[in-house]
Amino acid sequence: MMSQDQTTVAVELRHVVKKFGSFTAIRDAHLSIYDNEFFTLLGPSGCGKTTLLRLIAGFEEVTQGQVRLFGKDLQDLPPNRRPVNTVFQNYALFPHMTIAENVGFGVRMKGASQGEMQKTVERMLELVRLTDHAHKRPSQLSGGQQQRAALVRAIAPSPRVLLLDEPLSALDLKLRQAMRIELKQLQQETGITFIFVTHDQEEALSMSDRIAVMSDGVIQQVGPGREIYEHPRNRTVANFIGETNLLGAIVHEKSGSGATLTLEDGSRVMCTDNVPVGVGESGQVLIRPEKIVVSATESSSFGLHCKLASAVYLGTDTQYVLRTDGGLTLTARMQNVDDTAMQMSTGSSVVAMIEPAAIRWLADGD
């Protein structure tokens, strides 16, 4: 969660619309990103997240609306005059310059003296342990090293905001995981606002103070990772973040602590979430697979009786596909703490237990 002062707004988007010809890439984006925040734009490819980043950097012009940086409208300010730097997806390190020259480029263009520039470059290279590679060309470095060089090249001119366009996507899994930690540390050390674009939810959840989920050019939900995972505002968000069981439900009864819902197959479940509609009205509920406990024996009153359709062993956990007696399909996921998985065979009768707190009423039907 956010540790810093929340009141200073670093980047503000005011009803931003971006069109490419007849194609609308961004529809009415309205968003505030705070100073010192690690903010992530998360969404599938083509959702407009990179376009949003390019609007902030100044590579594209907004069709409507405003992009403001620390209270100042950026309209008509070209990219080379915005105190914002970008880490590009494939790094875009200048192939004809050494690493040191690359890192010093921004400082040099800003008009710093030779001595100043050298000092900054040394400090930066030290920060990411590239001092020994200062005089090599980008092509002589490994992917991870190029990544770090691109990172400090963008940080060297001390921007107010750093934009990162899927910077980890070209690295392999191990390196990617290590870089996540390094990125987060760097952000905390430098205190620069990071705006990070990714399609990888794990990346987003592990680093961000707040996440904006985007799809089809619309910002669907903004909030801390936990909130987005636990309380997705709509189906799009729920589907994009993690696995989900999305079920149709009708409110059967309401009480002070929650509601009883009737699922599509007629079975009843308890829900302690806030259900904003009245008795008899329908909507959708969301149940995360890891919140469903599957057992061979009936031991809870909340249980749904099911047949086990399939069990897929995935190493750390097992994924179960269940069919309720009423014909509903549920996906469950349980850690392989013991040998429970092996004791249940396909076709056998099992009970799926769902805690009332694990059932989320989706505010938005669609």
């Binding site: 194609f23 890439a25 083509g46 959702c47 376009t51």
Partner: protein, 307 residues
Amino acid sequence: MATEIGRDDGQAAGAFDPLKYWLILPAWLVIGFFLLAPICLVLVFSFLTKEFRGGVIWEFSLAAYDQFLFDRGLFGDEPPRIQWTYIEVFGRSIFQAGMATLLCLVIGFPTAFYIATRPRRVRAVWLFLVTVPYWVNLLIRTVSMKFLLRDSGPLNEFLLFVGVVDEPLGIVNTGLAVQLGLFYSYLPFMVLPIFATVERYDFALSEAAADLYADRWTVLRKILLPIVAPGIVAGSILVFVPSLGAFLAPDMLGGAKNFMIGSLIDEQFNGNAGNWPFGSAASMILLSLVLVALFFYARQTGRQGRA
């Protein structure tokens, strides 16, 4: 994808966008003033009256085109008969250019194919070997060809010495020599586009066909050829077009009997004929033939681009 559309829409940030017209202007001015305008002037000249020993009189006349098509006798008062002389020159030019194209295709296709199937590193070297002679002065290449093919030249000497022939072959001053000369002039234009298409061809398709019991040559004919056809068409047009208007090869290797459009035009300006309107008319006819060929080429590459 949004970013891709962004790129298509214009090139990225387009820092040079505000300057683009100024950057292109010099090229427009130079080529427009010294090539496009002059070509329009050639069209005008082809409708003017000739002045003896070069130049024109600024009076409208259809004489140039009339002379091209009709024979009205020595004093121009006889009833017009079709004049075959110049039509024959054009016909011969088209024939020779066509034969040269065929020659380039027969030798160029296997070469391009062979090069395209070499390992990547060696490929560039082979390609380089094929293109180097193109950059050697055309005049020197043509002179060398003539030197080699002469009756008393090294080729005939060698053949006589070995005993393959009893007397020199007499290649120089024949159509064959012209075709060889044209082949020599423009071969890389055939090899490069074919090479490009064969290199992009996915040989898994050939393997699939071979797996389904097609033999090598059936695979070549039924699978590869239809797919690389655009490259062959492109190469053929690229050889045919410059061959049509060639001057050096027919002039130096063909002799008087085999002269082509290039020599006909040259004769009007540098030779004894000195008929500028007629030379202009012949140039315009040549240019329109070329434009027709290039139109097909553009359509072909357009189709390739869409595929």
